[in-house]
Symmetry: D2
Subunit: 155 residues, 4 copies
């Protein structure tokens, strides 16, 4: 069965390290055969798309706007949802595991929705939240990818 | 112009204090003429509905499920959205100010969406988040209601 | 239990007769205690809102845009969904019966969604569709209101 | 630029001819390089997915349910939207042209939303609607594919 991983994180406020981590993680997971889902825009989203594409993987961008002009050109499939930030819920709903790289308020909304709805979350370089039930904090890219792989492998 | 305030917070995990705070705040804001929007279910949502109803106010419940059977009986209007947790985004989108009483992962998703989309948030008894830009932390019900009133009064 | 009826129909292309029918039907159903849901804009939507308000009823407008400025001032509750035409599905989903007055492509999308999802539809002055399973065509306002009342009364 | 075509039509009530037409049209359009979007389930949706896959094309299924178990195995990407019939609006919103093969109430809702929002629609073997502005009725598969190609080629 095909498996889907969302790589989420800041757009305009992403750090260079966030983007490098997202790119590397996406390439490794895409090489495993995972489909990489993101919000389809810049920053961590773009890095994840590029990383997965570099490994020959399939990438999906669920865009907030009503047309696909804002989507990254490397996306295999872009879906202009026209839902604004409600598309964050679709990103979470459509995957087997969420990997958050860095954080922002938009990213936090997706992490929170994922924990709320039982989608496993791995967090790398994110905010230090007061509760961590349902969250797996990773120390580096290798650790993050190992944690995602463990989720996909199942219990 | 009519003004809309979302009162959000935990359902099943709400504390007695959360519920008392939500009830009291809702009654005060409804007495001002504000329409109180919530997720329409139990805990803080039910307390806000009951508080606003006790003050003769209008209450709206945006329900996650496909029918209105789960909605609080005091709701003036219940909307079964069938959107699951995506309805959290509708709660935030439909109001002029968000008052969060207590916290949970679902509540956190709404706080984060509100900050992300520029809807002012007042938080009472919530989690201690690592960033507080866009959030106004209140010390008690009176302080929270004053902060919401300041938002509604405008700059 | 509170009952909800959607009154749907053309906006800018509504005829004078459509608007009079929508106003009269809304007033009668609101006098029964039904909550009148609409898309919240002009034409048939505005007429239904005004008719229900004139009878002291509760009216809900589910607006397509991201803010409530386009909503009719008589609405008891307006919800800016920001969903564009996807809000048509929310209108249908949130009611016990749909009354279509006149027709347009937007109206037709709601009729079709209602039939598809099992929400009873009464149609007055609409298009002559090639299939009418799930649709009750009414001859005038009195007949339409009687048909809606029969739906709300249940089997 | 990548181009997206929705092939829509009945699920369980699709005729053998509808399915053959959908399969053939999907294969031809996928061979052109178009991405084929559908509702991801059976009948015309399954036929379109299989036809596009047979031509090596990319297929996307926007599923109504909350998980991807109902999606066709040939889909390149399946998105469990959890939106129920509101996903019909996403199907329409995400494409440059809609090809309707056969009809049903669900299909009609998509046709109506497309015409309403300005997405060109080509219809093959559908219902005889009382208005046809915005609709191009095709006589057979070749005619339908030619009409879709004309839309994609632009004015």
């Amino acid at each position: 069965m095909k498996q889907y991983v969302a790589i989420i994180g800041p757009g305009a406020t992403a750090t260079t390290e966030d983007c490098r981590n997202a790119r590397d993680a996406a390439a490794l997971l895409a090489a495993d055969g995972a489909t990489i889902v993101s919000g389809g825009l810049g920053g961590v989203m773009a890095a994840a798309t590029e990383g997965a594409a570099s490994a020959g993987g399939i990438t999906v961008g669920l865009l907030p706007g009503p047309d696909r002009s804002s989507g990254h050109p490397d996306l295999t499939v872009s879906i202009p949802t026209g839902l604004g930030e409600l598309r964050n819920g679709l990103v979470v709903r459509s995957v087997d595991c969420v990997l958050a790289v860095g954080c922002s308020w938009g990213t936090l909304s997706e992490i929170a929705l994922a924990v709320r709805t039982g989608v496993p979350v791995v967090s790398l370089g994110g905010w230090d939240l007061p509760h961590d039930d349902g969250l797996r904090t990773a120390s580096d890219v290798e650790d993050a990818v190992a944690a995602v792989r463990a989720v996909l492998a199942g219990p």
